[in-house]
Point group: C2
Chain length 467, copies 2
């Protein structure tokens, strides 16, 4: 079938749309080079592309009006949160209008009794956690960046806590979405579960702005556990670390976090954060529960680790110690950038069934050993999900080609193990070519849905599907 | 916009399709009155309607061929599992061909290390649990009936364990689906999470056969907990019972089950199962975990219950005792039917944010007190989900009208509390008229998806959306 594509974009149409938007928004519509540059890129290695204009709406109704103008003139529309996507999801490949949701920064309603909250799309995960901490609540999903919750919903983000708390897929209760023709919908009410019609919430979660623009998000919250303890443990071998993870999951230990950093990554973290961890394959773990529950979980995992060549656990139990421990983990991207000043990071991630994780990581490390590129490895290994960050000079075609080759080998290996080409970064620009390899005929169904909801192909064109 | 509808069904077309299907399936295509009668109804009060024929395919490819024949002649297709739906989801309202998946009864692949399994669609939940028990695994989702896992996916079923383990929404990893034109797709691979494209798995989960026919299901499994303990506790007041639930959830106790049976329901259960529980509002609870964890959870909930007028906990810890305790809970439908021999049960369910649960149940009980109909109340109250079962004589228009009036009041009350018109039974025939009240403009998006994936409107027509 035909791809849902934007018609060739007419520059006259773009200028007419911009004039209409200026009338609507006044100085909240910018065509300055600086502003357009700022909205031309994300945190990935993908080549920036400037939009024609950037709009700064204040309300969902204004977003609707902007989309209506763009639909009338067939001008691309790309939503922008914090610009921290890792596969080019927010790069306006075909120009058009970027809608920067920076003014959507309010926490709208905390329902502490129901353990849920509704926020505007540009509230970030840290902002939300600061807001609700006093009520004894927290929101666990934590991609590396302090991303916007709307953006996290749009890319189906996860992070280090997903092994226990799930991803955005499990933690979004409902969305307010502006559709490609400007209609505004609410995908769901606040009940914890519902069997009333199609699951539109999860259709928009992970749709990367290609079906509509998310302006409000209702999320599940969790009570801050009575006790939390984090620890770091180095291993003699990668197999030992991974087998510790596998056995922990299989035993059903409700571990909150279990993260792998390989030796290369530990070296990078040590240098950046001035730490002195052994340069070995290392697990970062965290336990949540009652005092007794945490003690019990910790004992089980320590004994599993000891069987697999793990060293002593170094504990952090006070909030500031735990926070310090995890900052090192969360800062890996910046640590890796510092390894090779001026480099770009080609970040990639795959996810496989946990039974294949050791094999997948070991074969990948073998590839890396034979390559001239450096790529630290870090993973949310409790989910079978791991990342590589190739340190590249984007201007060097040889390096680009090598990263592409290694990335393709990684993805095809994950697919051959019944895994996915991306566990959490999304398709964006970088994984489009693997979509059919992963999903086969199902991609035609995705295209049919895209065409039904965005017949003009104006919503973030060139992402997920090729044009 | 236009509804996706089946064109008026031509009897000539139906007969031509049947002839073609007979050529394809031989005696695995039946037009006998007995077989058609058997496939004309489910376990609901809704009026049966006979299909024109019933097909018994052996493979997904045969399902695809059957659907292709039906598509060519624009004949309705309805998938049939165990026929235990509660809102008429499997009733072939417009005749056509029922595809009985009775031969899809194989467990295809257990991946114990990955805690997942792939089954054919007609494997039932009990059959699956019998199959995997020896490997120390279980599948928690348990609607009242021993339903097929394909049917449970199609209706987004849940049950008593959802408060801890989620519903089919959270527990289906992937599906094999035959689309309305016969294409066969696999919605996802086995990785625990993925950000690769639209979430087709969850689009089909809960679509009630209106978008395609599920022939295989990949599910999450769980290790059988080290310790399990169940208990029953009677309360002086409904408020006391409900507030115990609310506080337990808000404290984050990982309770596996917390079920409410009201006094009317307890009377019914006592009679049917020859038990002597106090005829009072009662909670059935279950704890899963380590020995210590279960003990700790139980102590917390007992102390909460005691504060709210709860009596002593009667414990069941041995498997056969627990099983006996829960049989009483699972048999409520049969117990209620026995209360009024020959009656039909108009089963209905709603789900509200837990902060509104007490208010919603109390107002509903007030309605029931003022009515001449009897309707025991039972609920998966940890999710904010509860059920009524009106005992009616389907032939009596007065009783029907009264059940309809009470049901409408119940649903509108739940919606006014930001709840849903059905937590787990699905829309089927019975809740269609509430879909717009609940979702508003979002229903038009559901219709657009329906039209994109089933342009001829042959997949289970007349369900979810009106024709």
């Amino acid at each position: 079938m035909q791809t849902a594509t934007a018609a060739p974009i007419s520059q006259t149409a773009v200028q007419t749309a911009i004039a209409e938007l200026q009338a609507l928004l006044g100085d909240r519509l910018s065509t300055s080079t600086g502003v357009r540059d700022h909205h031309s890129k994300d945190e990935s290695w993908h080549i920036p592309h400037r939009p024609d204009a950037v709009a700064f709406p204040n309300t969902t109704e204004e977003v609707s009006k902007i989309v209506q103008v763009c639909a009338r003139h067939r001008v691309p529309v790309v939503a922008y949160g914090t610009g921290t996507s890792l596969e080019g999801a927010v790069i306006p490949e075909f120009g058009g209008v970027v809608i920067d949701l920076v003014n959507f920064d309010q926490v709208l309603q905390v329902n502490a009794e129901d353990l849920d909250v509704t926020v505007q799309a540009r509230v970030t995960r840290k902002q939300l956690n600061d807001y609700i901490r006093d009520q004894g609540l927290f929101f666990p999903i934590d991609p590396g960046a302090d991303a916007s919750l709307g953006g996290m919903a749009a890319t189906r983000a996860s992070g280090t806590n997903a092994v226990r708390y799930g991803t955005m897929r499990e933690n979004v209760l409902g969305l307010t979405v502006v559709l490609a023709d400007g209609r505004i919908i609410r995908t769901s009410r606040r009940a914890r579960k519902s069997a009333a019609g199609y699951d539109l919430t999860r259709l928009f979660v992970g749709s990367e702005g290609t079906l509509g623009i998310i302006t409000e998000v209702t999320l599940r919250l969790y009570g801050i556990p009575e006790a939390m303890a984090a620890a770091v443990c180095s291993f003699d071998s990668l197999e030992g670390a991974i087998n510790t993870v596998i056995q922990t999951i299989q035993l059903g230990v409700p571990i909150a976090r279990i993260e792998l950093l390989d030796d290369v990554q530990m070296d990078s973290v040590n240098r950046f954060s001035k730490l002195d961890y052994p340069v070995k394959d290392t697990l970062f773990v965290e336990f949540h529960g009652t005092e007794n529950g945490v003690k019990e979980q910790a004992e089980i995992v320590q004994s599993i680790a000891a069987e697999h060549g793990g060293g002593e656990f170094k504990w952090a139990t006070k909030p500031e110690e735990r926070s310090h421990l995890w900052t090192a983990r969360h800062d890996v991207t910046y640590a890796n950038k510092a390894l090779r000043p001026g480099c770009e990071i080609w970040a990639t991630d795959v996810c496989v069934p946990i039974s294949r994780l050791a094999e997948c990581i070991l074969e990948t490390k073998k590839d890396l050993k034979e390559s001239f590129l450096i790529a630290p490895l870090v993973g949310h290994v409790g989910d079978g999900n791991f990342h590589l960050g190739f340190l590249i000079n984007r201007e060097d075609p040889k390096e680009l080609a090598e990263a592409e080759r290694l990335n393709e080998r990684l993805v095809m290996r994950a697919l051959s193990m019944d895994g996915t080409c991306t566990g959490e970064h999304g398709i964006g620009l970088g994984k489009m070519k693997f979509l059919v390899a992963e999903h086969g005929e199902a991609v035609s169904v995705m295209r049919e849905v895209k065409k039904a909801l965005d017949p003009l192909g104006i919503m973030n064109p060139g992402k997920i599907f090729s044009m």
